[in-house]
Symmetry: C2
Subunit: 494 residues, 2 copies
């Protein structure tokens, strides 16, 4: 095989894998939104076959040989092609290490466990779920050994969402974040309450589309549908969809989920179309991706300036006033209240929910903690960090779906995303002045979105998270910026 | 390769091809219904890659060798597996005969031509389109030679939609249908007109879903969305979708398109789930498929009995009376009026539109007629058979999209479907008595749908069209039944 043949074969496989992933993305989105219910069983089988095909395609010996040939003459590759090869080889080597039968057994196990988790949560029955969770933990520990790690087994899990992320890097960051947050908790004072209102789904949808347009999300390159669990789905260039859920008596729930998913959506919409058909259309890391969703949900979406501009229109589209006064609204949507449920947490206490999960995941992988002791450890940490103790498993260890799906190592992305968002905001303000002014006009939002696009989004996975952080913010992840940001906000709210 | 290995490999390839086809079906449906407009370019590329993958998979030498191994010991295969092999080998041999570059060039050409056809039709400009059509004709003629045929080149085109269908079989059928129809044309008398009403899309949708449910289409295994050109899309077992288009001032248009697509939908919903993941989930021929859509659209959907039961509810859901009296409604929806546009034609003259297209297609493939003479031939035949002459190309030779997409040989399916529908109705009535009584109750409809399912739908492509016709109707396609049926209807209408 000549180098040119290898290159052509490599690019063809990339395009095939991209097309299969695109089909899987649409099939999954459709399954969660509009698929008729009787299609579930066949859809699962078709998705399984397609995913198996992607796995086969990207771990074949032939593909490995093609990449070896390219790696022998990297000087003949462009910088972009080198990065494509680097990422493809990384995945190849990682996936090759897992025996096919273990991978398949794990897929079947997590698919079942996710279903069992829902039932266990509904019935508040941890005992029935614990053995399944233990099996997943056992597999995941085994995978960590197959994958290998420099320092701690948990690092092998973190790598799934950011190849370069290490426990040793997160530990001091979270330690500082924990102490800073606990100090600030005392600043919370009396909270204001909003009137109880009911907003029908079709009106909430109009609000959602208004907010998406306002934040620069292109509704001609995406759409807004409903799902049980909101998510963003990038199908291919020109088609990145967001979803939400409408609770008629909780209109704020969909407002903030739309702003959050809209942030993910903006990212995917603004990846350079030149990267279409390659593995560089992926995001560079989940921390950076979450930084964009949390930025729009919180930094912009919970700012006074944003609501001074948009509250009136949102009230009007809702058909009822969510609140008459932007300042009161601002105080209400930023109320700090230590609580049990992560996805309902305020911006300050949210990170504590993440740190607890991070510490438990470390304990599972690095210290041999098993599923039977997780509920008590969970409760004890909530008591220690947040001063609240779950009364049920459903509001404790069973609250998130991640572990039942075998996703260990994802949680840190949420908190790291919050920290990066504050650093990005700081970097933007250094160049263009206060965000407050910009989020009040379409031109200002356009400037902001374009800044994000030029500095972050367009690269897809072409850059590493570290290079982006250092180039844009001058340093890697540093909790100082978030702590300063949230301290300032608390002063405005209370 | 042992026989057992070959069998496993064959079934795996079937499942892969099925999954890819399923993904292509969903991507196409999505493209036509809800995809954001900016996704078009990437979607086309992804679809192209997936279709190329299906072609590669089902024409690979390895797959050919696998099938050869199976064909050496057919006694070891079940009847179902033998039929799978027969169809797979048929497609394999057919596709293998076209050089890959010719196939690709043809795909690109028809994709462009379809776009150019739309523009040409809008501008009534045949001159600009004619050279493109000629290129498509040249390719198709070349394909016919590659594919081969026993008698006439046009047979190679017909085979795409029914492997066993021959010009020699259709000629006498259409000849009898033509003379019978021309005789009956004189029976048409004065027509009644319906009031002009406007029904907003959301109400038309409610009507559509009501009718789909009434005809036994399972809305939990499908759905109703809108598209420019209505179609039915079977994605996989448990998910067969139908589409329609709402013209506010022409509510009948979507009513009959829903009944038509609902007929296709019922068929695909009722294919045995055991055939999932194989090439037997396809329909056996387009004539039989169209027989089911035309059966529900016309035999049931334009019957007095059906509207005696449903007109009141449809009026109510429409928010305005389409007509107050079922008998008047029946006369109006069955009015015979020779006209220029196929898709607006009544049940009697519809077949003449098809016969004209069939004769032109034969002339193209068997007699060397080229694109430059088609408009005049078209006009002359309309004048001769229907007594009307198109004043524009848009209402003449440019009216249908089929040729621009390279689909020659499809048109006969529509008329043959009408004939089969009448034969099926006759066979059903012999067993269960008059259709009229059955279509007036949910139990009667259930009996009818179940009869169709047991006798036709469940087989998918497991049976040949001929075997189905002979088993269910006692003979192959015979126009007598349709001519008797339509003569009786004309007597009721006029």
């Amino acid at each position: 095989m000549t180098f040119d043949q290898a290159k052509e074969s490599f690019l063809t496989t990339q395009r095939q894998a991209y097309s299969f992933l695109s089909a899987v993305a649409l099939m999954y989105w459709d399954l969660q939104t509009i698929m008729p219910p009787k299609g579930v069983s066949s859809r699962s089988q078709v998705l399984g076959t397609l995913q198996g095909e992607i796995f086969r395609l990207t771990t074949s010996d032939a593909y490995g040989a093609v990449m070896d040939t390219l790696a022998e003459a990297p000087e003949k590759l462009s910088a972009r092609e080198k990065r494509m090869l680097e990422l493809a080889q990384w995945s190849y080597n990682r996936n090759k290490k897992i025996p096919a039968d273990a991978y398949e057994a794990f897929s079947v196990l997590t698919a079942q466990a996710n279903h069992l988790w829902k039932g266990a949560k509904e019935k508040n029955d941890y005992a029935s779920f614990s053995p399944h969770l233990q099996k997943i933990i056992d597999y995941a520990r085994q995978f960590a050994e197959y994958w290998g790690y420099a320092d701690k087994p948990y690092d092998a899990m973190l790598a799934e969402y950011d190849p370069a992320l290490l426990t040793a890097q997160i530990d001091p960051i979270f330690s500082q974040l924990l102490s800073g947050t606990r100090k600030l908790l005392s600043r919370a004072g009396e909270n204001v309450a909003l009137p109880n209102v009911t907003v029908p789904p079709e009106r909430q949808k109009a609000v959602g589309e208004y907010l998406l347009a306002a934040m620069g999300y292109d509704l001609d390159a995406g759409n807004l549908f409903t799902t049980e669990h909101p998510f963003t789905c990038s199908i291919h260039s020109g088609d990145t969809r967001v979803t939400t859920k409408y609770h008629p008596t909780q209109p704020l729930s969909s407002i903030f989920s739309v702003l959050h998913e809209g942030g993910h959506g903006l990212y995917d919409q603004n990846v350079s179309p030149e990267l279409d058909g390659t593995n560089l259309r992926d995001s560079l890391s989940m921390s950076i991706h979450e930084s964009q969703s949390r930025f729009w949900e919180n930094t912009v979406g919970r700012s006074l300036a944003f609501w001074e501009t948009h509250l009136e229109k949102v009230n009007q589209l809702s058909g009822v006033a969510l609140c008459d006064d932007p300042k009161t609204f601002f105080r209400a949507i930023n109320a700090v209240r230590p609580s049990l449920i992560r996805i309902e947490a305020d911006e300050l206490t949210y990170n504590l929910h993440i740190i607890i999960r991070y510490e438990l995941e470390k304990a599972i992988f690095n210290d041999g903690v098993n599923s039977d002791t997780l509920p008590e450890l969970w409760a004890a940490k909530y008591e220690e960090y947040l001063g609240v103790r779950p009364k049920t498993y459903a509001e404790g260890v069973l609250q998130d779906s991640h572990w039942s799906g075998g996703s260990f190592g994802y949680f840190p992305s949420y908190a790291l995303g919050n920290l990066c968002a504050a650093q990005f905001a700081n970097a933007f303000e250094k160049q263009h002045g206060s965000l407050s002014g910009h989020v009040q006009t379409p031109e200002g939002i356009a400037l902001l979105v374009n800044w994000q696009k030029e500095n972050i989004h367009r690269y897809g996975a072409e850059e590493t998270p570290r290079r982006i952080m250092e180039r844009v913010c001058g340093e890697n992840i540093n909790p100082d910026f978030f702590l300063q940001y949230i301290e300032k906000k608390l002063a405005e709210v209370y």
